[in-house]
Structures are given as C-alpha cells and as structure tokens.
Subunit: 447 residues, 2 copies
C-alpha cells in the first residue's frame, strides 16, 4: 500500500525506525505507537498527494509540527501516516511596515524571532518549547507574554489550509480587524490538525519594547504569591509577563542551571514600555503593591543579560524538573479559571497533591488565571496523576473554568471536553464531519 505513496513522493516517505519512533510519541502522553510511515512534505503538492492517497486507501493522516504537544495530539490511533511539516520552514515575507510576517508552518518561533532581528519587531507568543508556528496555531498556543500580547488566536491574522479533500482555502485577512463573513480562521486555530493542514500563516508582529524592567518577587506561600498576582491584574498596570513559580521549581532550576534563586514561591514580573519614565513609574507602582501584599524580597534584573537569565530559568524550569526525575514523564495540567478564583484553585491543587501524596510543582501564567501542575510520573504513578488531573479539572469546571488554557485536548482531555462543553459537542462533531467526512485528519482527537 505504501508503495504507491513512495512512487509519488520518493525519498520524502520514511519508514526508518528512528523516524517512526519519534513520530509516535509526545512529551506528555504515556503511550507510544509508531505510524506506518512519515511523509516529510516540502510543499502544498506533497500534502495534496498524501491526502489523495489517504482518501483512496482510507488511511488517516496526522499533521506533525515539532511534536512538542503533551496530550497525545500526534499519537496514531491505528495504521496512519505522520505528515511532518518541519521541512516547510521558509519565512516567505517579512513586512515590517505592516507589522506582519508570512511563514510556512514548519518555521519555529525561535527561528522567526531570529529572522526578525534588526526589524525592531518580534513575535510574542512563546510556549515553553521551541514549537512550530503551524503546531502553535493548531493548538492555539500561548505563553508568558499572552497577558499583554494575546495568544495565537490574537496573533494569527490569516491562514492557508488544505482540507481533507485537497482543497486549498485562505482564511482571514492580513488586517488588524475584519467583520467580513464567518470567522473560519478561528475555527481552524485550535483544531489540532483535525479539520485541515495549515500550510501558511500570516502573523502579527509587535514593536520590540524599548525599555524593559524585570522583577522577581518572593513570598511566604504560593497562595500569597497568587493573591499578589491577582491584585497586580486589578491595578491596570500594563504587565508584559506575570509568572508564578513555586519553591520546588526554583530548587530544580538552581540545581539544573547552577543558580541561587531563593527557594520560595515567587512571581516573575516584566514591564515593557516605550519610555524610561513610564517604565520606572509602572514598575515602582507594582513594587509598592507587592510589598503591601506581603513580598519578602524583591530582585530586579538590571541588565539585558540578567533578564535573559531570568526568563531562561523560567523557560528551562520544565527541563530542570525532567533532569531531576530521570526516567519519568511529566503530566502537565493547564486548567484556567476566572482570575479571582485562581488563589482558590492553587490552594486546591496544593492540598490535593498533599492528600494524594504526589510530588508536583506549580508554575504558570497567573495573569491569565492559568497555571500548570507538573507531576513526575512513571507507569506505576501515572494512574494516580490522572486521578489528580481529573479532580483538578472537576474543581476547575465548578469554578467556571476550562480544562485547557493552552495545551489543547488531544486524546487525554476528550473526557473533560465533554463535561465542559456538553451540548456543543455534537455540533463540534458535525463540523468535523463537514470538513472531513472520511475522518482522515487526526481522527479520534478533540471530539
């Protein structure tokens, strides 16, 4: 069967054991299941050929970006093709005068920001991993700067997608706002490869802040830190980043990177401004507010190098934990709640971890009411971690929250999606059927 695919695509089809292995697992899901083959698409036609073959042979196709997703997004459910888009990695156009860039889906966020050096602009969305922009759009990714600049939904202006039937559609427009017709662009953002293959993205760029001020503020308890974060949000101060890190995370970072951060719950805060005076005033106000809210100690990153180190520490936190638990895999929750409920949810997560005798670190994007519990698991621990996640999601939904603030649904969260969206689920399923009646694109995921 693969013969006819190979006949068309030649060396772009791989069945090497390494390729099959790396395309049959992700960073967070406990199972691994290799695909039949990996197709390394280099252009639209390769994708259209693969989909035509898929339609003929009724073989599902799973789009694959950088494989950093966490919920079983790219895990084959049966015999299928992994459609790897990492070779479609050209930056097609940078138009600084329009604050936009047009890229292929395999371009990674770091690659894009490197290419933007010298333009005075940057692309702000920064999930912890160096993900592909196609994968980031497909999961509606967000990150540390989302509190200020938004996530993928707010920063993708237009998409080109290829549907299961091979049709190429252009969705959205390269403008800052439009009210012209149904918003199909946002339907495809967050659809996790189940509605179409993203082949081109038009992205919104932002002026690099001329002045940046970064603070690390430590508290006696995680709750106190969460409470201070909540008050900062209410102040209306233009926060660019607001990250919560617990003592376990900081311990791991100190060990992994050889740092000496206080091993206390902390907030990492950043301000971006176009004038120095604004910056000083704003970070001054924030400081006063956090002292009032019980800050034990405040450190400021004064130089660009210090600042880079601080955010590197935040971004390396996951890897620091990985290093601390060799042979383990991490279960990472990503619930989000209305922001006044955040201290409550943090308290619940801590208490539940304790009750269940589970080791778990809490970190996250608390300005968005969203945080992660990272739990090191192995085969024996996994069911317990799952039980924890289920409790956390149940409590989150009772607070009006969402089971996924950023990672998406994949396989693992399908059961929660049902509880969260109830009556809308059949409509999501019908939309899936409309765009992909043969269930060829990443079947079994999301709905």
């Amino acid at each position: 069967m693969l013969q006819s695919l190979k006949a068309q695509l030649g060396g772009k089809v791989s069945t090497s054991p390494t390729d099959l292995e790396t395309h049959g697992k992700d960073e967070g899901y406990p199972l691994r299941r290799p695909p039949l083959a990996v197709v390394y698409a280099e252009n639209r036609e390769d994708i259209q050929h693969t989909l035509a073959w898929a339609r003929e042979t009724s073989t599902p196709v799973i789009p694959f970006g950088a494989g950093t997703s966490l919920e079983g997004h790219i895990l084959p459910q049966g015999a299928c093709i992994s459609l790897d888009l990492s070779r479609m990695n050209r930056i097609l156009e940078v138009r600084p005068e329009d604050f936009l860039a047009i890229v292929e889906p395999g371009v990674t966020r770091e690659q894009l920001n490197t290419a933007l050096k010298g333009t005075g602009l940057f692309f702000p969305v920064d999930p912890g991993a160096n993900a592909s922009l196609g994968g980031m759009a497909a999961t509606n990714a967000s990150g540390t700067t989302t509190v200020r600049y938004g996530g993928m939904r707010q920063n993708v202006l237009a998409l080109e997608v290829i549907l299961a039937n091979g049709e190429v559609l252009e969705l959205g427009r390269a403008v800052r706002k439009t009210s012209a017709g149904y918003d199909l662009k946002d339907l495809f953002i967050g659809s996790e490869g189940t509605l179409g293959v993203i082949t081109r993205l038009t992205l919104k760029l932002h002026p690099l802040p001329q002045h940046i001020h970064t603070l690390r503020v430590f508290f006696d308890s995680l709750e106190a830190a969460a409470e201070a974060a909540y008050q900062l949000m209410g102040s209306g101060l233009p926060l660019a980043r607001l990250e919560l890190v617990d003592e376990l995370g900081l311990q791991a970072v100190n060990r992994y990177l050889g740092r000496d951060y206080p091993e206390k719950p902390g907030l990492f805060v950043e301000f971006h401004s176009s004038t120095r005076e604004a910056l000083e005033a704003e970070s001054g106000s924030a400081l006063a507010l956090m002292r009032e809210a019980g800050a034990l100690r405040v450190d400021a990153a004064r130089t660009p190098e210090e600042r880079t180190l601080q955010w590197e520490a935040r971004h390396q936190l996951y890897w620091a934990l990985v290093a601390q638990y060799p042979g383990h895999q991490f279960m990472i929750t990503d619930t989000a709640v209305p922001i006044s409920k955040m201290p409550d949810l943090v308290r619940f997560a801590q208490a539940t971890l304790r009750e269940m005798d589970l080791g778990g670190s809490i970190v996250g994007h608390v300005g968005d009411g969203n945080f992660h519990t990272l739990i090191a698991t192995d085969e024996a621990l996994y069911p317990k971690a799952e039980t924890f996640a289920a409790k956390l999601v149940e409590y989150t939904l009772s607070l009006g929250g969402t089971c996924s603030g950023e990672h998406g649904v994949g396989l693992r969260k399908k059961k929660y999606l049902q509880a969260e969206h109830r009556g809308s689920i059949p409509w999501m399923q019908q939309i899936k059927r409309l765009f992909d009646p043969q269930h060829l694109l990443n079947p079994g995921k999301v709905v």
Copy 2:
C-alpha cells in the same frame, strides 16, 4: 397564520404600523420593507416559541437589537418576523473581581457602562451608535478604543445562543484563554443573526484608566495626518485611541455643536495610563513624533470635561453630517487595509471622490488601518455612491484588505464578500446549512 403566534405570545407580538416601520429599515440601506410582525421577546422561551412557530410555518426570523446596523442587516427579504431583543435588557451579573459582566442581549453599551460606575471597570467597545451588546456581538463591532482594547471578538468571553431548532448552546468560557475544543464562540460572533440568536453574553471588563491624556493634532493634508498616524503605530506607544477626522467632518461638528475646532484634517489621540509619569512621558513622545511628522497645531484636553467634549464631537460627527444634509441617507464605507497601505487608500478615496464629483467626509479608526467614507445620498445619488464603494473595495482588496473592518456584510456587501473570500464561501454556506437547514434565521444575509 400570525394568530397561532399571537395565541402563544399575546401582547408581545406587534403589528402596529410604527413597529413594522422601525423594524423594516436601518440607518444606511436605501430600501425599507416592513416585517409581518415584531415579536418583543422577554425571555428564552419567547424566542423558542417564535422559532418553533417559524419552523412550522416556514417563516424566517430576523433578530433585531437596536437597529443601528448599516448594510441592510435587518431588512426583510420576504414575509418574516422581526425578533426584537430590546426587552431582554437585564444586567445579570457584574463580577468586578473577575473583570467580567454577564448581560442579556438587549443591554446597550451605554447602559452597561452606566451600571459599571463605581466598580473601577468599563466595557471598552464603542461603535458610534448606542447599539445593543447582542447586535454588537452579532456584527463583531469595534470602535475608537479597539486599537488598544480590541473589538467584540476579543471582549466577548462566552455566549449563550439559541439555534434555529430551539436548542440552547453555551459557547466559550468565562476565562481569559482556552484551547478546549473548536472555537464556536467566534463562529457566532460576526454571524449577523444567521446562525443563532444570542441570548446572553459574558463580557470582559477593563480597569478604568487612572490617567488619561487627550490630544488633537492638525495637519495640512489628510494624507499627512494618515502618515503621522502610521508612524505613531510604529512607535510602540500604548495608544488608547487614534482617530482621523477630515476638514468636512470638523466643519459639520463646529456647526452642529457650536465648536471652534480648526477646520483642518486632524488626529484625535488618547493615552491611558496607570501612572501620571508614564502618561506624561508617553504623550510627550507622541507629540514630538507628530511635530516631526508635520503637525501644524496641537491642543490638549486638560480636564475631564474637555475630554468628554472632544470625544462627544467625534461620536456626534455622523449626526452632525446628518443634520447638514436633511433628507439624505448616508452610505458609510468601512474598508480596512494592512496599516502601511492606509495613507495610500486615503489618497485613493479622496481622489476618487473628486473624480466622481461626490461629497464625502473621511473619518476613522486609522490605528487599525480602517476608515469610513461618509457620503450623503438620496435616490438620485445612491447609484453613484455605490459605484464609489465598489471602486474603494476593489482597490482595498488589491491591497490585501477587507471589505468590512467593522460594520459587517448584511445585504449590501455580499457581492464583495465573494471577491474577498472566494473558495471559502461555499464552506461558509455549508456552515449556515448545518446550523440552520431551513434557512429561517435572517436568510439571504452574509452568504
């Protein structure tokens, strides 16, 4: 036929000539065509009854908010019911601690902001008219503050909708971000009453800025003003409003409100900040930049009263023009382009107006690359104004822009939507069929 509807809904069904007339025309479309009857819904059940009756009798239903739309959105295409939602105007919940409010669809933006007094919060989206929030979501409205706070799509967290089949769905969640499932909420935002009736909205509120600085800056030409606006956007300064107003608009305002604004093309600019120092620094930078860009004269609104007057003038501009052309109706274009193309499009619009010997004022939200041409028309002039609009849209699309930055499609822009979205149109039509197979909800609009 209406008897059975009246039997169920009694006095909520009106066939009074005044009601029929006010529900059969809008502010911008040249035709008027009364509906069969107006149903004043007071709750979900009224809507469900109306829809059940509509299914049985195959009579279309047009949701009606405040009727301020401009493109024939609410114009009956044949015998139909106007479903007026203005009596569903309760503010159900204000949760300052979560920066959100939950409202019924008939609540107007002014009503909501009045109710928010004392909470320190506000709802920023401000189309020129005092529209209903349901109508604003249905058209994805935006306004003067969108450059800073986003439009409806960014400020509606969740919706309750009733489908044509009577089903009640909840879409979205009351959180700042979610990646859980397909984004049906954004599919319904901007769907202009064609996919479902919005019965409840969860809205994002923002801290009222503690310090505000407002400037009026005048230039020698509209192009120079547009160019300065473009440079301001590039500066990264946190603009809260950036409005372009031409000399004709200011003349009309001076006459209508008895003001003495210079009758020169101008920018109305506003900064919001949480500290006075930040504000001074930011508006200082902006001023320097605009002087460099050729500003002739700068005035600052120093007091809240002066500021209110300034924005009142901007918001009254349309009514000032209406007063100047009694017996005329206005054709209002609302194209948007990638922002570097904006000075070009302004130039094109001015030249085309001159060429066609049409009087038209240019005003708009230039920070979003979006502006309006307001043309006074009567029966004789209307075809010429339509030709102008067609030329403007054609040029806009050639620049990569959109036929509608904010007002939506309605009837008038259907032909442009075709040109803008080409291959996606059949998919929009299939989505319409999916949610409304009998074509009962506002048929003939959008797609």
